[in-house]
């Protein structure tokens, strides 16, 4: 097996190297396996914990925002309404936090072995996707309970999840690279997540927003992702086409610039982290 490695000085690394990512796919699988295995290793209830979170959230939100505050949901039953948003949101929140902290959390690996560091971000996102599947199962149960049939929107759900993944990827490429030299990023993450949740239609419908702010709102790609989820699984209206286009643009911008920045900084992670 003959491979040639060229080691070049800082600042002269090639930008794109998909062949290398493929070569390290085993490491990716193993790290995902490790995260999932360790997570449920010593807890007696194990997997049930991953189900408990969405169930509890749905329950609390339904009582407070659905019953006590009566947030208008365009006729959809509140539990299904909120769960269809929560399933997406819990994934986004977890993936975003874990991926943005992935360089910092894995400093001991970065210092000792060579591998494309972006793998750590991909692992964090993959692990969050595994939990998403469980939350989605809860959503399905609720849909059956309320007798709701998925609409055509379900076809668009997978592409929308891809959009969510791209957004998270772009943001975490920026933040994880910044976290290495600037530790305050770690303090920012939970705060950013909370604000982001309120800027997304998790507990309220996006139709609540006055039309003149819709462009600003569309800059948050999670809006159209959750809207699509509501359209597909909770009998809500489909998102507007132009908003989807804006969101895709934002996600693409984040990914491209994020990847460029990350690659530039990657060479010095081991020295600084």
């Amino acid at each position: 097996m003959s491979q040639t490695f060229l080691i070049r000085a800082i600042g002269q690394q090639p930008l794109l190297n998909f062949g290398e990512l493929w070569a390290f796919r085993h490491l990716f699988y193993i790290l995902v396996w490790r995260a999932l295995r360790v997570r449920y290793q010593q807890t007696v209830i194990g997997v049930a914990w991953a189900l408990l979170q969405p169930i509890l959230y749905t329950f609390v939100f339904t009582v407070i925002f659905g019953l006590l505050m009566s947030i208008p949901t365009n006729g959809q039953p509140y539990p299904v309404f909120v769960m269809s948003g929560l399933a997406v949101w819990l994934f986004v929140a977890q993936a975003f936090n874990q991926a943005s902290a992935s360089m910092f959390n894995n400093a001991h690996l970065i210092n000792r072995i060579y591998f494309p560091r972006i793998i750590l971000i991909l692992v964090a996102i993959a692990v969050a996707l595994a939990d998403f599947l469980l939350a989605f199962a809860v959503l399905v149960v609720l849909m059956i309970w309320y007798g709701i049939v998925p609409t055509m929107g379900a076809l668009y759900f997978l592409p929308m999840m891809l959009l969510a993944v791209m957004t998270i990827l772009g943001l975490s490429l920026w933040l994880s690279a910044l976290y290495v030299p600037y530790r305050d990023v770690g303090h920012l993450l939970p705060f950013m997540t909370t604000i982001w949740m309120f800027l997304s239609p998790v507990i309220y419908p996006s139709t609540l927003l006055p039309p003149k702010y819709q462009f600003l709102y569309a800059l948050n790609p999670i809006v159209v992702v959750i809207d699509t989820s509501r359209w597909a699984f909770a009998g809500g209206p489909p998102p507007q086409g132009w908003m989807v286009a804006v969101s895709c643009g934002v996600a693409a911008f984040l990914c491209v610039t994020g990847y460029w920045f990350f690659r530039r900084q990657e060479a010095t992670f081991a020295d600084v982290v």
Partner: protein, 266 residues
Amino acid sequence: MSKVALSVSRLGKWYAVNDLRYRRSLSELIIQVFAAPFRRKADVRSIHQAPDSIWALRDISFEVQPGRVLGVIGRNGSGKSTLLKILARITTPTEGAAELRGRVGALLEVGTGFHPDLSGRENILLNGTMIGMTPKEVRRREEEIIEFSECADFIDTPVRHYSSGMFMRLAFAVAAHLEAEIMLVDEVLAVGDEAFQQKCKAKIRETALNGRTVLFTSHDMDSIKKICHSCLVLDHGKAVHVGDVDEGIRVYKEICGIPLQPPLNT
């Protein structure tokens, strides 16, 4: 003409001694990033002359033919680990370049990525994959690894229950079974009690003399003499000798201030 397995050209590595130099203010960082395409090369150099920084390696060049063993010796702080880390691609050089033809295996540390909640067997898979083996290779060598580590009785218990000795033996066992065309080995890896240390050293020796290209660093001149075909001596980041092993050892002893003595015959 046989192709050189490992060639290093004018390698250099600069470090900021003061941690804060890396952690500039966020605004400075943003300006630096956006100004990069417009900055001339001369400006980049100036940061490297800053007072609280060192060149851990400077202007290192050498070549290793396939199948030969190069010993790297020098005092602590001479740049040996830095050189190995650069060749293992853990850190990136500030200047220069290197070319390695073949799969690279680095035995510089053991136990990377071991997770206390996973069993010995699971950690073998985890660690093996991390240091560059494919899961298939790891499974193929699993029994050998377990046998070498002498931890067979506890292989399925979580490693948090292992003694530190068992932990290191298992870690070394995984690393020792890594097979690559180019190996970077630090003899510091030989751990454990006397018996196991001898086992480690023997395994390292076996790896080195197996026809692979090896970069070997050690503080034991005996090992160097026995295994290496040629020798690189580092002093404060500079290469002071590249070539003959005995001559290299002499240069090294001079640097250390050890007077050359005939071996004691008692």
